[in-house]
């Protein structure tokens, strides 16, 4: 390119009363077409996304293609970065749950639990968490595993053009979201699991509704098998696509269904149990095909296992407290919906306003200032539907986190995209990415 052309392609600046205004000129379509025709090969670089319906949110795939073959694939991420980790450093430890629940918004309860496990480990109160709180955490996490897998299977099917499986998936997920709404008041972004236990106990009718759901889900789950598992088109699109073997998974740090599709039954619920998972009866499904189809089968089987765990949780539930007894950590009120539509506890207000000045001061300090966490650092990990969700939390002894880092499985697993896609067809990129199941809220945080 001549020097005059490159000068024309640069942005020129002029000063206005509003400040410096840059004008981007040059690079006309004529020139682009001309240079493309001058090129002597078929090499084309395609930007897939960030606004593309089948790339799961704002994921940008940069593909170098030769005909229909992908010769190089790269990811562009960061379009949904919201600075949650930085924001956490300016709120109390309890307020943190409200932020972390928004990271991977399809696995809210896992984010909250992992964060709370880390805070509880820093406080040294793991052994004080009540039985009922632990059971409800497991219950919600397993429901959440199902709702996350349902979205993965539904959207993955839709990207193949199978809209029926999409309708099925979202139909069943809706039932789970209704349960969330009954229990936490919200369909997403719950902030229900708190350091020390839960925000509230289960409302009346929740257990019955979950039992009803389990019954319906047992009837609905075989429909996915009938519709997809043996379907020749489905198999032709998924088998041997997105191949990543055990060595690749280890090198790239891939966990979750991707790792288990290589035949290694690694599941933190079994390997490093938390929330008493060792007392539940369930299996860790694996496949040995290392491909998208194997991951689909694993997700389907994991939903069946989650149903088993949910049933065991319901059988175990006994009345009892859902928050630690330590008044320096637990918020004092048991909230009920007041006439103003806000949560209030009239008995508690009567007590602190009428009879106990000390309780009023304590409440005020606990809510505005928060509790102090002894200095140190911990790592807490849970098995999220996507893999190992790790939280590295550092405290300097203050009422706010000094640093919280989330090792999100979507972020790590997405690195495997290039290894899975290069050398394959463009259409198979979609299938491979769908089998990774990345959620950009978790990738970018």
């Amino acid at each position: 390119m001549s020097s005059t052309q490159s000068a024309a392609a640069a942005a020129s600046a002029r000063e206005t009363t509003e400040g410096t205004v840059y004008t981007v000129t040059g690079g006309d379509w004529d020139e682009v077409v001309e240079s493309a025709t001058r090129a002597d090969d078929e090499r084309i670089v395609v930007n897939m996304g960030p606004q593309h319906p089948s790339t799961h949110g704002v994921l940008r795939l940069i593909l170098e293609i030769d005909g229909e073959t992908v010769t190089e694939a790269r990811c562009g991420i960061g379009y949904l970065h919201t600075g949650i980790e930085k924001n956490l450093e300016y709120r109390t430890w309890t307020q943190g749950t409200t932020f972390v629940t928004r990271m991977d918004y399809l696995t809210s309860f896992f984010n909250e639990t992992a964060y709370c496990l880390a805070v509880e480990k820093l406080l040294g109160i793991e052994d004080d968490i009540t039985e009922r709180a632990k059971i409800i955490r497991v219950l919600l996490m397993e429901l959440n595993r199902m709702s996350s897998h349902l979205v993965c299977i539904a959207t993955g099917g839709m990207e193949l053009g199978a809209t029926t499986i999409m309708i099925y998936g979202f139909r069943d997920r809706e039932m789970i979201l209704d349960i969330y709404e009954l229990i936490t008041g919200l369909r997403m972004n719950h902030a229900y699991i708190r350091p020390g236990g839960l925000a509230q106990d289960l409302p009346p009718g929740a257990v019955d509704q979950i039992r009803e759901f389990v019954k319906k889900m047992k009837k609905n789950l075989p429909e996915y098998d009938k519709l997809a598992t043996g379907n020749p088109i489905f198999k032709a699109r998924m088998q041997d696509i997105g191949y990543l073997d055990l060595a690749g998974c280890m090198a790239l740090g891939a966990t979750g269904p991707i790792l288990r599709s290589t035949g290694l039954p690694h599941d933190l619920r079994k390997a490093q149990p938390y929330c008493d998972y060792e007392t539940y009866d369930f299996d860790v499904p694996t496949a040995d095909s290392c491909d998208s189809y194997g991951r689909f089968l694993i997700r389907l089987e994991e939903m069946r296992q989650s149903l088993r765990i949910v049933e065991q949780c319901l059988d175990r539930l006994q009345p009892g407290p859902v928050m630690v007894a330590d008044k320096k950590i637990a918020w004092p009120a048991q909230l009920a919906l007041g006439p103003d539509g806000l949560g209030n506890s009239l008995d508690h207000i009567k007590k602190i306003m009428g009879t106990s000045m000390e309780a009023l001061i304590h409440h005020f300090k606990l809510v505005t200032e928060g509790f102090r966490v002894p200095p140190g650092q911990v790592y807490a990990a849970v098995e999220s539907p996507k893999g190992e969700l790790g939280v590295h939390a550092v405290s300097d002894g203050g009422t706010r986190p000094f640093r919280v880092h989330f090792r999100d499985p979507s972020f790590t697993n997405l690195q495997a995209m290039a290894a899975m896609c290069e050398g394959g067809q463009v259409a198979d990129v979609i299938v491979a990415v769908a089998s990774i199941d990345p959620v950009m809220g978790g990738v970018d945080r």
């Binding site: 991420i77 960061g78 090198a251 690694h266 200095p375 140190g376 970018d444």
Partner: protein, 254 residues
């Protein structure tokens, strides 16, 4: 710690407070013990550190201490891992005390603080030695200890051994003036994006990384947002008639 308090004593006594005496008194509430490693001495309250604090808390002195080095035995399988690591380092002709700066056992977790020039060798050993076999790295997390002079930037790695079902932590520090730490991508390729993220947010330069570029922030961004001297930003907003300041301008209690 006595050094830090000794040098700061003159400052504090102008308030009628003698930090050295008061900190060592045993009848004070919130005593955090003398163990551990001091990373900061905090004064006053409510984040008022530029004078003009009329809260009456200006004389407060708080020593921020992280858990310090542990002594043998560490307990459980921790000793086994430490022995194997030291043995493997000696086989390679390295003195373990030159490589492992200190070993911390806290809250049931084992942390090796590694000198940065030996990080790559240690990671390679931890991954490949059959008795250690930490085959899965869960990435790197940066921490910025702004007041810990000479070792402000920390890179923290969690290594998981699926073979032996263990988890350990490696911690490496670098000063702000020379923010270089060797890259682990050649040993654990998964660290590619994690190191880019830590570079993006903390400005730690991972030497040997194949393409150390920003990953979350725009390519032309100035500064590294998760450093402690980088403001959170935000604007004051009005709620029910009151002006609520931006989150990083609000009163803090620590």
């Amino acid at each position: 710690m006595s050094d830090a308090n000794g040098t700061n004593g003159a400052n504090g006594s102008s308030n009628g407070v003698n930090p050295e005496k008061d900190l060592s008194a045993s009848n004070l509430p919130g005593q955090r013990g003398q163990g551990g490693e001091e990373i900061r001495v905090q004064r006053g309250m409510f984040g008022a550190d530029n004078g003009g604090d009329t809260s009456g808390y200006g004389g407060l002195v708080r020593s921020v201490r992280l858990p310090g080095p542990a002594n043998r035995p560490y307990g459980g399988w921790f000793d086994e891992v430490a022995d194997e690591l030291e043995g493997a380092l000696e086989e390679q002709g390295l003195l373990p005390e030159n490589v492992v700066e200190k070993t911390v056992v806290d809250r049931g977790e084992l942390t090796f603080h590694i000198e940065r020039e030996h990080l790559l060798r240690v990671a390679q050993t931890l991954r490949d030695d059959p008795a250690l076999r930490f085959e899965l790295c869960t990435g790197v997390s940066g921490v910025h200890y702004l007041h810990d002079k000479g070792r402000e930037l920390h890179a923290i790695y969690h290594l998981r051994s699926i073979t032996h079902n263990r988890l350990i932590r490696l911690e490496v520090s670098a000063p702000d003036s020379d923010p270089h730490i060797p890259s682990l991508v050649s040993v654990y390729p998964t660290n590619d994006w994690h190191e880019r993220e830590t570079y993006d947010f903390f400005g730690i330069v991972f030497d040997g990384h194949p393409a150390l570029t920003r990953i979350m922030m725009p390519d032309d961004w100035q500064g590294h947002p998760q450093r402690k001297d980088y403001p959170l930003g935000g604007i004051p907003i009005e709620y029910k008639g009151a002006q609520i300041p931006a989150p990083d301008q609000r009163r803090s209690y620590s």
